[in-house]
């Protein structure tokens, strides 16, 4: 059987390294990038196939576009290629994509810029320079034609990779010009004039399909977990279930005698791995290993003890940071006709990507390579080098499409552990696959939090004062302390809540307001989870706004509108979803209630409107869900629609079912039986309103996630008269 596996490896290697018609073609879908290919990319400028760093053209007119960001399902690979191709004026039908490696990026003075893929920044964070890269290549190709025909470049036209000189009735294609073009100097990017958006043909066009679908239909797409290398061993690992506790003992002798086991290795101070011929042998070994860990104070931590810390934080003056303050909230509330207070809460959530964490590493004394699914190739390279004890220039990272990211694969703990293990088996490629249980136990969770909201209303139902206190652990303190703000603050805590700013600000005009944050860091690691803090911040604000509207005796839409007069884009997308669901024009069917919500984050304006019913026995059904987004420019409307739908499954699914409980310092929910995911039967039909107003570049992958839940919760509130202040819904009785 080994024979078959090895045949597979060599076949893939041959397929992967064959050069398509003289050009360099590494299909991202064809099985990743081998070392030989990585060197090929670097050598490529000399072969004459690379025009600009972003564009490689083969004699048969195949255009390979380099994509620095990572594809995890969000469609960034296709969108970024559209941006390049728009300026390049190439034949879209012949476009392929490939990942340059982080090692090449380093060696070439970071010519591909930032490789990190998060914060819904893939397109908006690189749209300018990737379009310039496409335009530069076009200019070089046209100049090559002008030189060949000895005509002024201004007389040439190009469409779909065909260059024409009408006066002399001559035509040629990019594939025939690439050898000459690659010898020309790359134009200064600052001198490049990009197309006016009104002239775009490919950007914003409906019906542009993804470039990475074919391999996902027949099992041929190779993910990191599928990597096969000659002589490779497979490992599985267990880290301290109580985060940070030191590894104490394990039954090494017993496990080493089991079939296929190659060894048992400590990984750092806290983890242990079993290495074997196959995953199942490694897993059986780990199951028999009986590892124990030292105890610490963290063993006493529970969800209840964490809740006590957060509740105390709601009333504390210590460790508190102010995010948005205007006027005098206390005085405004003190003099109000009506005073309203509510306490909300949100649980830890795990990312639970479909593909569990895994990484293959091969270490020698002067080189270390990793094969990995990563949201941040640069960070993977840095983690590899640090764990390997080598310089980054001695390391290389081969990126694979991610079987889900959602923020989890921005953290590199799984890369670090794989390298620390491989370092103990020099020259042997070791693939470390985490079990689902390990993936769940060693999460980097969406932070738990509580929020106290207080407001005053005057006799006309206007807000006279608004206070919002969030208490919870800080993401930056947990995973990126170097990015913390002044005085050790975490500006991300205030996502969507600040007074001004293009990334996301509170649209409501509330003169007397204080929004602050009691940072309460815990031993449970927290990190970026699709939508990040906008998820709970939007629930807190938008559900409380509905509570206030009810107290004021006003319609939730009208109540919002009067506070959004100075925020026209917030208002426009709110109105768009209200129109679509028929908020003012047609009442909902009997027994059905409506809810609405709006927010701004990741540079985009979003809103949602829901129709739900809650049965007498408290069973919830979502009948309609209208999701609106204004991301400024829309690159691929079909993929925006897909992201909107996906954000609902991920975010609303979490609100329905998910919480991570901490007991005796460790995670309780270890698999999908206790950490339920939204499935098809629960998925409401989504009506997407894409209202791209132009003039700015907003994110797509995350923003809408944060409005689905509050729209549904507000519809439940309208149905039952009882506000929903905690999640998941599974744990609640919606009707008393």
């Amino acid at each position: 059987m080994t024979k078959i596996a090895q045949t597979k490896v060599s076949r893939r290697t041959v397929v992967g390294t064959s050069l398509a018609a003289g050009g360099m073609a590494i299909g991202v879908g064809a099985g990743g990038i081998t070392t030989a290919l990585a060197q090929k990319v670097l050598a490529d400028a000399a072969t004459g196939a690379e025009v600009s760093a972003w564009v490689v053209i083969a004699p048969d007119d195949t255009v390979t576009i380099r994509v620095a960001r990572s594809e995890m399902g969000q469609g960034t690979l296709t969108g970024l290629c559209q941006l390049v191709a728009e300026e390049l004026e190439c034949d879209w039908k012949k476009v392929k994509a490939e990942y340059p490696t982080p090692g090449q990026n380093l060696a070439r003075n970071r010519v591909w810029g930032d490789m990190s893929t998060g914060g819904s920044r893939g397109i908006r964070g690189s749209q300018d320079y990737v379009r310039q890269g496409g335009a530069a290549a076009r200019q070089m190709l046209l100049q090559a034609a002008a030189n060949r025909w000895k005509v002024p470049v201004e007389e040439l036209t190009v469409r779909d990779s065909v260059v024409s000189h009408t006066k002399s009735n001559r035509q040629t294609t990019y594939g025939k010009l690439v050898a000459d073009a690659s010898k020309l100097p790359v134009p200064d990017l600052k001198t490049i004039k990009l197309k006016d958006p009104k002239d775009w043909k490919l950007i914003g066009k409906a019906g542009v399909k993804r470039l990475d679908t074919a391999g996902k239909l027949n099992g041929s797409q190779v993910y990191a977990i599928d990597v096969k290398l000659p002589g490779m061993l497979t490992a599985t690992i267990m880290d301290a279930p109580v985060f940070g506790n030191k590894l104490k003992s394990y039954d090494e002798a017993k496990v080493k005698a089991m079939p296929g086991i190659k060894g048992v290795y400590k990984v750092g101070d806290t983890a242990v791995a079993v290495v074997a011929d196959t995953f199942w042998q490694a897993k059986k070994g780990l199951d028999a290993l009986n590892p124990t860990w030292d105890e610490s104070a963290n063993n006493k931590v529970s969800s209840e003890s964490i809740a006590e810390i957060l509740t105390a934080g709601l009333a504390s003056t210590e460790g508190v940071f102010v995010g948005n303050k205007g006027g005098d909230a206390d005085a405004g509330i003190a003099g109000a006709a009506k005073k309203i207070t509510a306490i909300y809460g949100s649980p830890f959530w795990n990312h639970a990507t479909m593909e569990p964490m895994n990484c293959t590493a091969k270490w020698t004394a002067d080189k270390c390579e990793v094969w990995v699914a990563t949201q941040n190739g640069d960070a993977s390279l840095a983690a590899c080098a640090e764990a390997a004890g080598l310089k980054p220039a001695q390391c290389e990272v081969y990126k694979y499409h991610l079987g889900g990211g959602f923020g989890r694969r921005g953290q590199q703990d799984y890369t670090t552990k794989a390298v620390l293990l491989a370092k103990q088996l020099p020259g042997v490629p070791v693939k470390t696959i985490w079990t689902r249980e390990e993936d769940m136990r060693q999460g980097k969770f969406r932070p738990v939090s509580q929020c106290k909201l207080e407001a005053g209303l005057d006799a006309q139902g206007n807000i006279t004062g608004f206070k919002m206190r969030i208490a919870g652990p800080s993401i930056l303190a947990s995973v990126a302390p170097s990015r913390m703000g002044p005085g050790g603050s975490d500006p991300i805590a205030f996502q969507g809540l600040i007074a001004e700013g293009p990334e996301g600000h509170l649209g409501y005009d509330i003169p007397n307001r204080t929004i602050d944050y009691a940072m309460r860091n815990l031993h449970v690691p927290v990190s970026f989870w699709r939508g990040v803090n906008a998820n709970q911040n939007a629930v807190y604000v938008e559900c409380f706004i509905d509570e206030l509207a009810k107290e004021a005796g006003q319609d939730p839409l009208a109540f919002r509108r009067k506070m959004l007069a100075k925020s026209p884009k917030h208002l426009a997308i709110l109105n768009a979803v209200a129109d679509k669901i028929g908020w003012e024009k047609s009442p909902p069917p009997t027994g059905v209630s409506r809810g609405i919500a709006q927010f701004m984050c990741y540079g985009s304006y979003i809103a949602a409107a829901a129709e739900v019913s809650v049965s007498d026995r408290g069973k919830l059904k979502v009948h309609r869900l209208v999701m609106g987004t204004d991301p400024g420019y829309a690159v691929n409307p079909g993929q925006i629609e897909a992201q909107v739908q996906g954000s609902v499954a991920y975010g609303l699914g979490a609100s329905f079912y998910q919480k991570i409980t901490i007991k005796d310092g460790r995670v309780v929910e270890e698999n999908f039986d206790t950490y339920e995911s939204m499935r098809l039967e629960d998925f409401p039909k989504i009506e997407t309103v894409l209202q791209a107003s132009g003039g700015f570049w907003g994110g797509v992958g995350e923003p809408t996630i944060c409005v689905a839940t509050p729209a549904v919760l507000n519809a439940i509130f309208a149905a039952t008269g009882k506000p929903v202040r905690t999640l998941p819904l599974r744990d609640l009785k919606l009707r008393a």
Binding site: M1, I4, A5, T7, K8, E71, M72, G73, Q74, G75, K209, R210, D212, T213, A214, K216, L217, N218, G219, S220, Q221, V222, Y223, I225, D226, T234, P259, T278, F279, W280, Q281, K284, A352, T353, M354, E355, P356, H401, G403, G404, I433, R436, G638, A642, Q645, G646, V648, A649, Y650, G653, N671, F672, S677, M678, R679, L680, E681, F683, K685, I686
Partner: protein, 152 residues
């Protein structure tokens, strides 16, 4: 030692009897289109057909497989993606990250073999695989499209 009938080919594998079919397919046969997601039969990423029935291969031990059992994996459907389900999946642009889609396609194929014209309720009942990207709306559309293609 066990003998498998995998995608129409006979394959002798040397694994312990408790090894799940999933890992035998992935590590012994070298077919990696069938995915590991949960290992406890919850997510469906490992779905295969055994004698035409949809099965979660992570939860079937190799000792419980008979040499005559016809096992079909995603690779065994059509390498050129020419089945109605695969064509519909492409036309609707269903996959996002794609990791669960082998299992989704196997589930949809098994559904249509039994119910050539499934209702939404049939799809709800049969398509229980988890997709963390949330491609459900397009999966539903693609199942209906594939049913129409097969009818035509």
């Amino acid at each position: 030692m066990a003998r498998l009938n995998l995608n129409g080919k006979t394959l002798d594998v040397k694994v312990d009897g408790d090894t799940p079919l999933l890992w035998t397919i992935r590590e012994q046969a070298g077919l990696t289109g069938t995915k590991y997601g949960c290992g406890v039969g919850q997510c469906g990423a490992c779905a295969v057909h055994i004698n035409g029935e949809l099965q979660r291969s992570c939860s079937i031990a190799i000792k419980d497989i008979k040499p005559t059992d016809k096992i079909v994996t995603i690779e065994g459907l059509s390498p050129t993606s020419s089945t109605a389900v695969q064509k519909a999946w492409a036309a609707v642009d269903v996959p996002q990250c794609g990791y669960c889609q082998s299992g989704q396609i196997m589930a949809a194929t098994a559904l249509l073999a039994k119910k050539p014209k499934p209702t939404d309720a049939d799809i709800d009942a049969a398509m229980t695989n988890i997709c963390r990207c949330g491609t459900y709306q397009r999966i539903r559309a693609a199942v209906h499209m594939a049913a129409d293609m097969k009818k035509a």
